[in-house]
Symmetry: C2
Subunit: 216 residues, 2 copies
């Protein structure tokens, strides 16, 4: 299941009816997701690393410590594949074969580019801070020069990307399966927030707006 | 953030204090996760595909249609990297630099092996069906020979794997940061189920035990 591009990269081969190259659909999934699984190959060996990310226009922004080998590699311009998946539910059917998962996912292929220009770097990091908590960049202290220098930022263009999704209940059971006594249907799933836990040093500090918007 | 093995593959280089090679820790994360992001390289080009999976003993089980190019590739024994990430929360700090995410993740490196023996294949598919919904394999119809033949199952050994996690609130703010008026703390996040949606054909069929166990 859940197969995206292969060989032709962003051409969806398996279950193409579930696929889309619509930029708005791709942006929506990227804006809602929280973690990108970033793949790259070293001597033909694949690595997949979970990373915080942000979308800024048509770019996917990744960041980390300058010492990170993965980002060091990325800074030289290498082929990467970043995949974001949102799980929407489990699909239970009368037969094993029709069990499935509801999801939305985006696969981005691109050559990494390091962002070194100070203004562009700050804009990229602003997008990262605001991605999961909109407006948080204005509720906390910006990086100073030393912190900026210790942070590497790379981007992937979203030019070559595809979205894929499945939604709804199980495929209709056919023939004898339809008469089986088993329950079939869907269990919706979603990431939900618990109650915020304030740092012990935050006595009397009001909960920030970034945690009280529609996002959470 | 969230960096796993690199160069030495399962040797954790960045923030090694967050890492673990403990088999029980690795199993717990794999058993709780729902989707694996599976990476492989074709002519040096990385691909990362979200897939349903299961752990069976010390093996990670993947499956899909025989027509899937990715699984066809996998059936020939190729290097793969499968990463499972569970998001536990957002970490907000007074400075951008100390923002983070709480998570648990496992990276498995391995050479894929196709499972063709009928009994072994059925056991692997049982694990897949029961992974997200324990006991579901006994609440639904097993695959017949035709369905089995249309399904390819591959496994990766969990021999070379590492777990990584971050938990708790933000790092303590130092110096002038400690006096900043911003809120700092943690927003716990977890995947939660909504109300099950029965298929229209399931009038009067009782909700299955697999949806009423501790898992959901």
């Amino acid at each position: 299941m859940l197969e995206h591009a292969f060989r032709m990269r962003s051409t969806i081969r398996r279950k193409p009816q579930r696929g889309s190259y619509d930029r708005a659909v791709i942006h929506r999934v990227l804006d809602e997701g929280l973690v990108a699984h970033v793949g790259f190959a070293v001597d033909g060996m694949p690595f997949v690393i979970p990373m915080v990310y942000a979308r800024l226009g048509d770019e996917l922004i990744l960041h980390g410590a300058v010492a990170s080998r993965m980002l060091k590699e990325g800074s030289t311009g290498v082929d990467m594949c970043a995949t974001v998946t949102i799980i929407d539910g489990l699909v239970l059917a009368r037969s094993w074969m029709h069990h499935s998962m509801n999801y939305r996912s985006v696969v981005v292929f691109g050559r990494s580019r390091e962002i070194t220009d100070r203004e562009e770097k700050l804009a990229a990091l602003t997008a990262v801070i605001d991605h999961a908590t909109p407006g948080r960049s204005r509720e906390s202290r910006w990086p100073d020069d030393k912190e900026l220098a210790a942070t590497r930022v790379i981007s992937l263009s979203i030019d070559e990307a595809s979205a894929k999704q499945r939604k709804g209940g199980p495929l209709p059971d056919e023939g004898e399966d339809a008469a089986l006594p088993h329950w079939a249907g869907e269990l919706p799933l979603a990431i939900r927030p618990g109650a915020p836990i304030a740092d012990p040093t935050c006595d009397g500090v009001q909960l920030p707006a970034s945690l009280t918007r529609d996002r959470w």
